[in-house]
Symmetry: C2
Subunit: 421 residues, 2 copies
């Protein structure tokens, strides 16, 4: 098949007619599929149902009654399990409620109101800016928007954010106070940060209260073998910026999205500041749910084993997505995409100016995708090309249909665009 | 027995000798009891253990998979149960995580950063002040202190805060932005707000963004029959201040303190503002725990029935406290105290300048009480008289001992004080 951009008008018209016919067929099926969010399917959650069993005994390993008040840092066995799993220092790990997003939001809010490391509270500054590697996670961007933090989109490379751009901006502008990072299997491209990227983030010149929001949401969510990630804390310490990183993680996509255990970790100084205010905000997290989670997962190896089960459930879905993309779009010039080795998403780039139209076409035919633009700050994808594919929620047969439709939409939007020129 | 203040020096010395001897006896027993917090005892929590049983089925009544993401407001059956129980409007009720304190803190933080009702964010004002009925709840005061909100102590009457003082201050000073209220069985005095108090709080002249933090923590925690509380929302609406109140509640002292379900409610406008920002902060609360809680409690009548069981567990403890106080301190002039009909505490006033000494004496003999002063803003009880007694955590026999020792300490501190004059 020739690359679409080199086709004649007649060839494009013929292609359009064929695509419109295929599209009409799909539209007639009255599909109703939601691929908008990285939501695990029920079949995946079923693998974890034993966590709903009776909780026998409610004492933690240090003899605390997990039913009662107390324990701001979470129960020791949970902190140790995740410290082991992620290579974090036990003392600097705090296990919380069911939402790491909540911990991220609150972390920025604390810096907003109280400042960090003796610096001016961000809320008292004229202007606060964040670097936002894009495409990225819309809920990170929403936190910035909620607080009025100006977002600067940073291009992604296959090794993470474009560090030349990041370094230049951070060094030149003290009002740049942070960066959002999903360092392993980034949302939505599935990109893994290289060691060099980690080192450069840790060492670059930046405001003293510049903070890396290290959202390792997919830290153990491998689909095709394990992938290592350089230790951000060690890198920051080595570079003389020990307080630069806040680390976040959760079991939302390990156990249950709505009832997992979230985690944050940071330097000793940062955790002391965090505890000071968090100890006023709450008496402590749900220790029973932590106990349930630890008893179910057992230890770091137990998590890895459990992730292999989940990967067996997810891999076929990623295969469907990637195979359909290859079959329908390979070498056509209509689109390019990433081939992640883990995480929850595949990101596709359409021809310029075709993402919104593609998503609208899919929606009209009954398949809801993540809104076009959502992967960029302010929902503004300047070239209107990026679409996040979230394959986890539908069943395999639904996903096959949805992906075929999706590819038709990508091509139809593309052909229309080329013909309109 | 004569009132102690009318005794001669010789009589006081004799009394002191006797008390020192009794005190020494206690000190020799090496007690180690914690009565510092309103923590339920294990025996009380055991009454709720069935909530730890296997959770059969994870769908909510509207068919949502409670294991998965979503549902910012909480599950419908939880919202309805508590709306029924507390006489709140379903649409304005939000069920959250395990901590109503967290909801209070976040509510003030939102007003701090974003303002409310179009008014200037509190964090951008020169000065923000809160009215703090005292003695009151130390964790409320800690929130103010954390944010740098100036606290103004308001005397309590048997009908709630002294409304003459409250009205006068609120009308005269626009920087007064709120008041902390525990309207039923106040912490620590167990005072219930009269209808008139509720009406006056709702109707008084105050800043447009003045907010009543209505922490109804003990709303169904009756020990000697039910006590009604006037509807704060209806009162505020009737007075033309529909957005004045934020209502908080939790099952921390109904099911498990560490793993309950918290609730907030407010006007339509306030809840819209709340949801706007909270929807950025989190994807939603732990719906499985809400499901567990609702399935265990069943409905409003189920809660009332459960509270009667808990009251049967708690009432003997309150009886021990009050009987010991009457026996040891009645008519002595050493102290006065409240006789709550519900809630979690009894508050006692020593002779002036004797609370700290009393608490220190008890501590030295192995009984930890709530720190003297903790019930006042900034930990500063100006007359050094108020002590919070938290009878729930010890067993009855421990409590009997602790209360006897406590009374000895109250008297010993008093006698020493009188002799030092």
């Amino acid at each position: 098949m020739s690359v679409v951009t080199s086709l004649s008008r007649e060839e494009l018209l013929a292609m359009q007619a064929e695509l419109e016919a295929r599209y009409a067929e799909f539209a007639a099926r009255n599909l109703k599929l939601d691929m908008s969010r990285g939501k695990p399917a029920g079949s995946q959650l079923n693998l974890t149902n034993a966590i709903l069993d009776k909780l026998d005994g409610y004492k933690t390993e240090d003899g605390v009654d997990a039913r009662n008040y107390g324990g701001l840092d979470g129960i020791p066995e949970a902190r140790r399990l995740f410290a082991d799993l992620l290579g974090l220092e036990y003392d600097n790990v705090m296990c919380g409620g069911n939402s790491s997003l909540n911990m991220m939001y609150d972390t920025i809010v604390r810096t907003w109101i109280f400042g960090t490391g003796g610096n001016t509270p961000w809320g008292k500054l004229e202007k606060v800016k964040f670097l936002c590697p894009a495409p990225g996670y819309d809920r990170h961007f929403a936190i910035c928007q909620d607080l009025g933090i100006e977002m600067i989109a940073i291009p992604m490379t296959e090794n993470g954010p474009d560090m030349d751009v990041v370094e230049k901006l951070a060094a030149a502008d003290d009002s740049i106070k942070g960066i959002w990072c999903v360092p392993l299997y980034s949302n939505p491209q599935g990109i893994c940060y290289s060691d060099e990227t980690v080192d450069r983030l840790a060492a670059m010149k930046a405001a003293p209260d510049f903070r890396i929001m290290w959202d390792n949401a997919y830290g153990v969510h491998h689909l095709y073998g394990e992938k290592a990630l350089k230790d951000i804390f060690k890198a920051c310490e080595a570079a003389g910026n020990p307080d630069r990183a806040f680390y976040f993680f959760s079991t939302s996509k390990i156990t249950f999205p709505g009832a997992g255990v979230a985690l944050m970790a940071s330097s000793k100084n940062n955790m002391a500041e965090t505890r000071k205010h968090m100890g006023v905000q709450t008496i402590g997290p749900d220790k029973l749910n932590q106990l349930r989670t630890v008893r179910y997962l057992k230890n770091a190896d137990g998590v890895r084993e459990h992730m292999r089960l989940l990967a067996n459930e997810l891999r076929p879905k990623f295969d469907i997505v990637l195979n359909t993309l290859r079959q329908e779009l390979g070498d056509t010039g209509f689109a390019s995409w990433t081939e992640p080795k883990g995480g929850y998403f595949v990101a596709l780039d359409t021809l310029e100016g075709c993402a919104k139209e593609t998503v609208a076409l899919a929606k009209q035919a009954g398949v809801t995708l993540t809104g076009a633009g959502a992967t960029y700050p302010y929902g503004n994808d300047p070239k209107d090309t990026n679409i996040r594919i979230a394959p986890t929620f539908p069943t395999c047969s639904e996903l096959s249909m949805a992906m075929e439709l999706f590819c038709i939409c990508v091509k139809l939007a593309g052909v229309r665009k080329l013909l309109a020129k």
